[in-house]
């Protein structure tokens, strides 16, 4: 057992609780007198409820109440209209909640929900994305508050003058987050105080939202999320079920548990919106990029605007004197898209990196070399220097580890039995973000230390790493540090999102622990009976960071695939990634994050796909049998490495976020490997057998 200091592979502190089943998730908390709620989804894609008949539902044994827009409490104002549940007879998309049955048992609640009769006046709906959709408009901002459009130099002229041009359209399908733990809530009222056990990536945001919706002072609301079974962005903000559960608990006067049934998740908990992306790259004969245009078309729901910022990476990745990056969005009668692991970067880097591979082929340049030739010391869009940019080091180290040297660039010339094999690569990037946070560090009379901050561990290892940060700043072994996270009564801290958690919370923990260590050193004498406590806030520190640096993590990913000549089945053989992510604080949990992201990226490349059913207006795949996530058999060998990357411009730990970069670029590495194996360029994800079969004819059985 090591001391668990920073940089050591400390095992997850709650690992034993989780694998033995004693860790409590949102609806695992025992509460007395609990009842259960089951929502009723709309069965039209657009229109209005004309009547709701709850008589049969209320007659079901055990059913306590049915909430509808006619009797539900009126809610206060919030920006996110998806949370204003049961407030109006309007239906914005199929699957939107129109009623809620509450009963003594889960079974009775489900029976009650099934017995609610809703009549609608349906209106024609519009659910299919196309780039020339008449509703396309230019939003004010895109997700992440990035500029919608950016223009540098004269793209059109430079592109027209380029010796080599690539002009292709790439499409990504709708994807669903599908964390193992569904979105779930236990809501308990005690007089005017509200206690919520919630599956969320950030309890503070949930508290603020509930206080606004139910007209309560925030001090009367406590939201906790001790353990969270994954979120992948879909729990970054509150989702409708928490509002329904709180309503139902108030209406019945009893605690209420509500876990969103898996088949309903696709419509109410968010998804990655489909995109259509046109990428044009103009380069000289040596592959040096002169002109780069990335134009993104996507959709949002009619309830709220969420614009996948897929063209943003093109502003960062490569030297490109003439650049145009744009986003257009249309509003469809579909479920609301939202954050899914690396929103923007994940979709956008598929298109950009796939186009880079096509440019490498067009220029007859090795794809690794092409990226090295277009490396840059300054962020093209802002002109700022990078605080650190390890892309070139990752490319070189990855190529060495993967055995890239001497790769025959010709497509469709390698086979093993009936398998065609190929390799491909792509770059990764993700911004190194930080947000203000608070934390408290306490020296207890017992000799132990207590650290408190409302961070959230969604399975990443945050609890463990924050303990290590505190131990290092205090100069004590991590076993002496007790950490409290996941409750809105703790010092405020930002959401576990944007790969910013460890940097943000860790900074505050570091600051509090360091200040406590200083006070202890100055104290000289024994600790007071009540211990010694120091609270820190990083708002000023974060604001004081130099604005003159561009801060991003980078990486390089390599893939090897095999494609069956007869069936077009593609199987991953190897994924290898090398990342430049500042200082790695815990190699065990870091590797898990990076490998997890790469697996999810491979899954996106080959499997994941939500089909919008134009007739009904919903996504057809709504369980884990039909929505194909990679299983163990799909992921034979995945390795993640990182380079040493000191960076003084980040935070006191010198770390960059690692939760999302692993999924960025993987899909492009895989489609490039598929091209290398087969000669077939797949630009519409996922890579399915039917896309490859027509191009595999020359290897197949003779006709007649």
């Amino acid at each position: 057992m090591n001391g668990g200091g920073l940089g050591e592979p400390l095992a997850r502190l709650e690992g034993r609780e989780k694998v033995t089943g004693t860790a409590r998730y949102a609806v695992d908390h025992p509460v007395d007198g609990c009842c259960y709620a089951w929502p009723v989804p709309a069965t039209i894609a657009k229109g209005e409820i004309t009547s709701i008949d709850c008589a049969a539902a209320l007659a079901e044994p055990g059913v306590l109440a049915v909430l509808t827009h006619e009797n539900a409490p009126r809610l206060g104002e919030v920006d996110d209209a998806t949370l204003l549940v049961l407030q109006s007879p309007r239906v914005a998309h199929r699957g939107q909640y129109v009623a809620l049955a509450v009963a003594d048992s889960l079974e009775a609640a489900r029976a009650g929900a099934g017995a609610v009769r809703v009549d609608y006046r349906a209106e024609p709906h519009d659910v299919v994305l196309r780039a020339d959709h008449p509703g396309m408009y230019k939003p004010d901002k895109v997700n992440g508050l990035y500029a919608t459009d950016r223009e540098r130099g004269d793209f059109d002229a430079a592109y027209a003058d380029s010796a080599v041009c690539v002009d292709e359209v790439y499409r990504t399908p709708a994807l669903h987050n599908h964390p193992m733990e569904p979105h779930a809530t236990t809501a308990v009222w005690a007089g005017d105080r509200l206690r919520v056990y919630e599956s969320t990536q950030g309890a503070d945001w949930v508290r603020e939202t509930l206080a606004a919706l139910f007209a309560l002072p925030e001090e009367q609301v406590t939201v906790s999320c001790e353990h969270v079974g994954g979120g992948f962005g879909s729990k970054g903000t509150p989702r409708p079920q928490v509002v329904l559960a709180v309503m139902a608990a108030r209406h019945t006067g009893r605690p209420v548990k509500l876990a969103v049934p898996r088949p309903q998740m696709a419509a109410v908990t968010g998804h990655r919106a489909a995109t259509e992306q046109r990428v044009r790259i103009g380069a000289d004969a040596e592959g040096r990029i002169s002109a780069l245009a990335h134009e993104v078309y996507t959709y949002s729901s009619t309830l709220r605007e969420f614009v996948e910022q897929a063209a943003v990476p093109a502003r960062i990745m490569y030297a490109s004197p003439h650049s145009r990056t744009t986003h257009r969005v249309t509003r469809l009668d579909v479920p609301s898209p939202s954050w899914m692991r690396a929103p923007g970067e994940c979709s956008g880097m598929f298109a950009l990196e796939a186009a880079m591979d096509e440019l490498a082929v067009a220029c007859r340049i090795d794809p690794v070399e092409l990226r090295l030739r277009n490396d840059t010391d300054t962020e093209p869009d802002s002109g700022h220097p990078f605080s650190s940019r390890g892309l070139a080091a990752c490319l070189r180290d990855g190529a060495r580890r993967f055995g890239w040297a001497g790769r025959d660039p010709r497509p469709g010339v390698r086979s093993e039995g009936r398998w065609l094999t190929g390799t491909g690569m792509a770059a990764s990037c993700y911004p190194a973000q930080v947000a203000p946070s608070q934390a408290e560090a306490v020296a207890e009379a017992s000799g132990r230390f207590r650290v408190r901050t409302n961070a959230t561990d969604i399975g990443t290892g945050a609890r463990t790493v924050l303990t290590q940060i505190a131990a290092e700043a205090l100069g004590v072994p991590s076993q002496l540090v007790d950490i409290e996270i996941g409750c809105s009564d703790l010092p405020p801290a930002p959401v576990a999102g944007g790969s910013s958690g460890t940097a943000s919370w860790g900074w505050a923990v570091h600051k509090a622990a360091q200040a406590l260590a200083k006070e202890l050193a100055e104290l000289g004498g024994p600790l007071p009976e009540t211990g010694l406590s120091v609270r820190a806030d990083t708002a000023q520190d974060v604001a004081d960071r130099s604005q003159r640096y561009a801060r991003h993590a980078f990486g390089a990913q390599f893939a090897e695939v095999a494609v069956d000549m007869d069936t077009g089945e593609t199987r991953l053989r190897r994924l290898l990634g090398v990342f430049a992510v500042g200082r790695v604080l815990n190699p065990r949990t870091a590797r898990s994050q990076l490998v997890g992201g790469m697996i999810m990226g491979g899954s996106m490349a080959l499997l994941e796909h939500s089909t919008m059913d134009p007739r009904f207006g919903d996504h057809a795949e709504r369980d884990l049998a039909s929505y194909h996530l990679a299983v163990c058999a799909d992921v034979p060998e995945v390795s993640a490495y990182w380079i040493d990357e000191p960076d003084e411009q980040l935070n006191p730990m010198g770390s960059k976020g690692i939760g999302e970069i692993g999924i960025v670029g993987t899909a492009a590495a895989v489609t490039s490997a598929v091209w290398h194996a087969t000669g077939v360029r797949v630009r519409d994800l996922p890579v399915r057998p039917e896309l490859l079969l027509p191009g595999l004819g020359e290897w197949q059985v003779p006709n007649g």
Binding site: G114, L606, V631
Partner: protein, 337 residues
């Protein structure tokens, strides 16, 4: 969820009598499909009669040199049975290609034969489906149907049967022993499942109360050289896009015995009689295999998004036969990846 009764049958006759007495009753095997469908509201039985503990849990040799497989044998048990692995590898491979280890440990042979389709419209009670609610229509034809049928469908239904095991059993001419209210009878597996026609709501020829007690295999000497190849998007835990069960005997370069059945392409395991007829007595060459397969697949009527299944199935069947034609050649499983 609708309340339902539960009985555990001690004897097969008791189970049959219990069903006969209750029109809304269902047999319960491993529950791997039925319980899911109950949760979705697709199945709403009044009474479950648990037949998983009936004394049908063994695999025994028959006097004719075949096997009598109890309907309550678990999928994983049958797959691991040495005699099955040696003499009917196609069956062992088909069983192992299905579902996940956990599901195979729970699923029973009888229940596996009676799985319902995985068509997404069938599973969604908020939408029309002729199989679930006759006369409501089939949205799959113009909707999401990538995984659905290309053979033997009707304007009323394009569902596929999901079982891998059933495809192998169809190729092997297995017979199902059925105990019904009127006594015992046998039904060939190839005639157990129905094509949809005008009545997609009827998956099989079984009547209410009919209980599968055993599945009987004949000696089938050519099954020693047999294989099951399943083509799917995901490497495990996914249903077949297409699958092929084949057994082949070649003497002096000529096909002397052949059995061929397809999965993932029709409402029943599709026995390729036309291809078998063309292959028998002909040369064991890829060209001959291809011609036979083209003839078998000529009547295919694919939909917009599943046309790929026809060439995929042809290629898969030709490749599987070609492998079997190379005596002692590797089985498809060994060449994976």
């Amino acid at each position: 969820m609708k309340s339902f009764g539960y009985q555990r049958a001690q004897r097969a006759q008791d189970a049959v009598a219990a069903l006969a007495a209750t029109p809304g009753a269902c047999y319960l095997g491993g529950g791997t499909n039925l319980v899911d469908l109950m949760k979705l509201g697709v199945e709403r039985p009044e009474l479950l009669v648990d037949v998983s503990r009936l004394p049908h849990g063994t695999v025994d040799r028959t006097a004719s040199g075949g096997l009598m497989i109890g309907a309550a044998v678990r999928n994983s048990e049958l797959a691991a049975e040495p005699v099955v692995r040696e003499r009917y590898p196609v069956l062992s491979q088909a069983l192992l290609a299905g579902a996940s280890p956990q599901l195979r440990n729970a699923a029973t042979i009888g229940g596996n034969l009676l799985q319902r389709t995985r068509c997404l419209y069938f599973q969604d009670i908020g939408k029309p489906c002729n199989k679930r609610e006759p006369g409501t229509g089939c949205p799959a034809r113009t909707g999401v149907h990538r995984e659905l049928a290309v053979l033997g469908a009707s304007p009323h239904c394009v569902a596929t049967h999901p079982s891998d095991m059933a495809v192998a059993l169809a190729a092997l001419d297995a017979e199902v022993h059925v105990l019904g209210p009127d006594g015992q009878r046998t039904v060939p597996v190839t005639e157990l499942h129905r094509l949809p026609g005008e009545h997609p709501e009827r998956d099989t020829v079984l009547a209410h109360g009919d209980l599968i007690t055993h599945v009987e295999l004949g000696p089938v000497p050519e099954a020693v050289n047999s294989a099951y190849r399943k083509v799917r998007d995901r490497a495990s835990y996914s249903f077949a896009l297409v699958s092929v069960a084949a057994a082949l005997e070649v003497l002096d370069g000529t096909v002397s015995r052949v059995r061929l059945a397809f999965g993932g392409v029709a409402a029943k395991p599709w026995r390729a009689y036309t291809a078998e007829e063309r292959l028998l007595g002909g040369p064991a060459t890829e060209a001959a295999f291809t011609t036979a397969l083209e003839a078998e697949l000529a009547p295919a009527e694919p939909l917009h998004d599943n046309a790929f299944k026809v060439p995929m199935l042809r290629n898969t069947a030709v490749r599987t036969l070609a492998r079997l034609a190379r005596s002692g050649g590797p089985t498809p499983g060994e060449e994976e990846r």
